[in-house]
Structure formats: structure tokens, C-alpha cells
Amino acid sequence: MRRIPLGAALAALLAMGGPAGASDGGLRIAVLPLENLSGEAAPRSEILGSLRGRLEAHRVPLLPTETLERFMRKHRMRYTGGLARELGRALAEETGAGAVLVTSLDLYQEADPPKMALTARLVSTGDDTRILWMDSVDRTGDEAPGLLGLGRIHDPREVLSEVTDRLAGSLSRHLFGAEAFRRRAPGRDSGLRRFRPRSFFRTSRTVAAGTGPVRIAVLPFANESTTKYAGDILMLQMVRCLSSAEEVEVIEPGVVREVLLRARLIQEEGPSLPQADLLRLLLEADVVLFGEVADYVEPRWAGLEPELVFSARAIDTARRQVIWSSSSRGQGHDRAFFFGLGSVPTAHGLASRMSRALVVAVLPSLEGAP
């Protein structure tokens, strides 16, 4: 498969006036129904409605809901946590959607203090299914109480409004060129120090990627915690942090899932070397990343502390060797200052920061040959 730089792919989508079927010739984004990873009952329609409203307010062109629902019924599309290649092609041909917005609800709590976290990514349709943009936003009602607690939010709808607005704004800034999604990773950022892995190994040899950036397949993380979807949440955070680095190209998780299901690849303790060979063949993956979440504690009431413990490994599929392995653990109040300054209120927030710190540490081994 010939590799096309991501910026060129998005520019082409915006410039070509959309595939046949788009009424005004512009790029239209199909917003898939939410994937609920919070483990709680949540008003998904209301959340999705709020997100669509914010996107439209930011002038992001959306595919009508009825068109998408017709397509999903026709193709019996039940999984909304990613986009497989065939479905991406069919969506482009039949509806004219140039991209799909895949959104997951990672955290939801209505009881005071209300909490919410959304992770969303924009995936191109057509022949080349790839991640064009990704971001994650979380907010709790008590994370910025301010003077005398006047800044506390008690209404979950207010939290919902803020989260969807920030996410829509992030996508809008990327689509209209105000902010580049992919950039060179930061150097050793002192702000990430407290979230760095506790033990870490990285090979000194860089991955040989051939032409183009290093292609990484991120497998679902094994989940040994008591939080039902902790493995998926952490996988998405790793995908988000890696996909924003211009040195790498992360394979769309929906495509990875499709290959794992078709090849019947079950990897209870992570992939074996022959399985990594197969992923190299089927996905053209230079690196396979997998891991395990040991603890993921989201505090449900005041006084409890969020906690996250996970390990991650990556295999260079060409050399058939582990190129990095790490063990990370942290709690929300680690190295917090007086009155909780610097504390992280949610496990989702810890996942975001610890994933970022891990990616900064491993990227030097992924700077493949151009």
C-alpha cells in the first residue's frame, strides 16, 4: 500500500469537494453513535445531540443523521467504536461522507460532583482509512472550585456543555487550519516528569520503517482491573498520544479490530512472535503495541483518590524483538501541592498524562528512516 502523508489526505478531502453524493460538494462528517465505555448508564442520545449541536455551531459540516442511520441499518453496522476498511469504502460511496467522527464516552457520573470524559477521532473514509485528528476532554464539577468554591459545577448538563464545546472547538480548529494536529513530539517536558513510567526499557536501535513514518498497530490492552473498559480507554489514550506525533502513523483501531477478528487472533497475554508476523503482513505494521491495565480506579465520591497502574510493550515486527517495555503507576494526589494544587481528579486524566509521558519517552526509538 503506498503511503500518503496525512496532511495531504485531509487537504485532498477538503479540496476535492467530497465524493459523489454530497449535496453541496463539501466534506461531510458522519458522526457515529457514542460508544459507552464508562460502565454507567448514560444518556447517549442527549450527549450525542449536544456534540452535534456544538459541531454545527463551529460550522463543521455534518452528514444528516437519517442518512447515516439508513446506512447503518443496511450494513447492519453495530460496532461504533471504530471504522473498518470495507465499511469506510461503502460509507464514502453511498453517503458521500468524507470522514467519520468516532466518539467514546470514557467517564460519566451524574451524582455530585458531575464528571464526564469524551474521546473522539476523525477517520477518513474511502480506500484509505486513517486517523486525521484525535482529542480527549475530561471535566469534573469540582476540579476548579476557585475562591470559596464559587467555581464548582453541580449541574451535569453544564459539564456536558463544556466538554462537547471544547471537543468541537478542537476539531474545528484542526479542520479550518487554525491548529495542526500532528507535530513533532515535545522533548523531555518537565511538566510530564511525575507521570513518567516507573520502570522503562527502550532499545537504542531505531525501527526501520522503509518509506514514510513508522506504522503502529495498538492492540486492545488486557484489563485486570475492576473497571470494565479500562483496557479500551487506555488503548485510546495511547492511540491519541501516538497519532499526534508526525514521526508515526497509528493504524485506525477499527481496522486493527477487523483484522484481529478475521484472523481469529486471540492474544490473552499479548501477541506471540508469529502473531506479530501476521499483523505485519495484514496491516503493514512496523510495530505492535500491547499492554495490561492492572488498576484503574475512578473515585465515585469525595475522599477517594484516582489510581492507574499499567504496563506496555512494543514489538518491532521486522526484527521480531521487544523494543520497549514499561511499567507506569500513579495516583491523583502524587506530588500534589497544598490544597490539592496539581492533583489529577480522575483516572482518565491520569491515563491521558501518563500515556503522553510514555510516548515522549519511546518516540526516539520510533524515528524510522524516511
Binding site: 520502570s199 526499557f201 492474544q267 497475554e269 499479548g270 514499561s326 511499567s327 503507576r329
Partner: protein, 191 residues
């Protein structure tokens, strides 16, 4: 007889009660005939769990594997590859392999040594108003050519010390205690 003042006597008593705290529990064996510099790659087998904490053996094995890999002294096979080797060789009880099984497995996986372990204690201990996390584990290295034990060590970390016994309070998080015990073992592997 030298006079021992009351304050000196109290200080001595406190020091002695401190020595009774559960920490260390160390014992180490190194085969004197083994050249450990020849061990370049290892496979860490599933650990035995003698505690009531579910999945304690998986957690400790995971921490041990990543921390051993982090030293850079030996290459640690990914767990999926170890699982494949165990399945191919047909080990009935991979946590306690025989010497012949170790030789077969090591040949299949192309490693220089195999590591097994046992988790003897894992979790919270309580004494009156004090509670703390404790871990006790032992690890063995078996070399690939003969399946013999060439290194073994045990470590116990955490528990309730004199201070907590007198004044109450909690202890370190379980994962930190686990990391301390594993680091202790790895330090003694390279002694």
C-alpha cells in the same frame, strides 16, 4: 554494672521492637559454577500464587518482567511468546516445570534461562488500628542446558513496623511495595 538511664533504656526498647518489623526476609543462592554473563535472554514463566488475592501472580510477574527488562542486562521474552512456547511444549504445570521441561522449553524459545516464582503473601495486614500492605515472594532462575537452579532469592517487603504499631496509620500502596520487593530481588540477581 554500668548505669543505664531510663531514656536510654526506652530508646533501646524502641529499637528492638523496630527490628521485629516485617521487612527483608532475604535469602539468596548463587550457583558458584554459573557464569551469569552468559544469560542474555530469559523467559519468565507464570508465577505460583499461594495467597488468596486473585491475580496476584499475574501482577507480580508483570512487574518483575518489566523491571528486569528495564535493567537492560537481559532480554525478556514477551509473555505471549512464552505462552506459545508453553503450549507447544505441552507443559502441564508451567509454574513448576521439571528440569527436562525447562530444557525443552528453553530450546523452543531460544532463551538462556527460565525464571519461575512464587507469591507467598500479597495484600493487607492489620494489627489493632494499623494496617499496611505486605508482599512476600521467591524467584528462581533455571539455566537452559540442564534445567538446574542457578539462582534463587526471596524477599518480603511492607508490613507493620514499630511506628505504625504504636501510632497507627496506613502504609505504602500495594504496587509500590511490589516494586520494592522486585527491585530487591533484581539487585540480588546482579550481586
Amino acid at each position: 554494672m554500668p548505669r543505664i538511664t531510663l531514656s536510654a533504656g526506652l530508646a533501646l526498647l524502641l529499637a528492638l521492637t523496630g527490628c521485629a518489623a516485617t521487612r527483608g526476609g532475604r535469602s539468596t543462592f548463587h550457583d558458584p559454577g554459573m557464569d551469569f554473563s552468559l544469560v542474555r535472554s530469559v523467559a519468565v514463566l507464570p508465577f505460583v500464587n499461594l495467597t488468596t488475592a486473585q491475580k496476584a501472580e499475574d501482577r507480580v510477574r508483570d512487574v518483575f518482567s518489566t523491571m528486569l527488562q528495564a535493567t537492560g542486562a537481559a532480554y525478556v521474552l514477551p509473555p505471549g511468546e512464552v505462552a506459545r512456547g508453553i503450549s507447544r511444549v505441552g507443559l502441564l504445570n508451567p509454574a513448576v516445570p521439571t528440569a527436562e521441561e525447562v530444557v525443552k522449553l528453553a530450546k523452543n524459545l531460544e532463551v538462556d534461562a527460565v525464571i519461575t516464582g512464587t507469591v507467598r503473601e500479597y495484600g493487607e495486614v492489620r494489627s489493632a488500628s494499623a494496617s499496611s500492605n505486605v508482599i512476600s515472594l521467591s524467584v528462581q532462575m533455571l539455566e537452559a542446558q540442564t534445567g538446574k537452579v542457578v539462582w534463587s532469592a526471596s524477599s518480603t517487603q511492607g508490613g507493620i513496623g514499630a511506628g505504625k504499631r504504636l501510632f497507627g496509620g496506613g502504609g505504602e500502596p500495594m504496587n509500590d511495595v511490589t516494586a520494592e520487593a522486585v527491585q530487591d530481588l533484581i539487585d540480588r540477581l546482579f550481586e
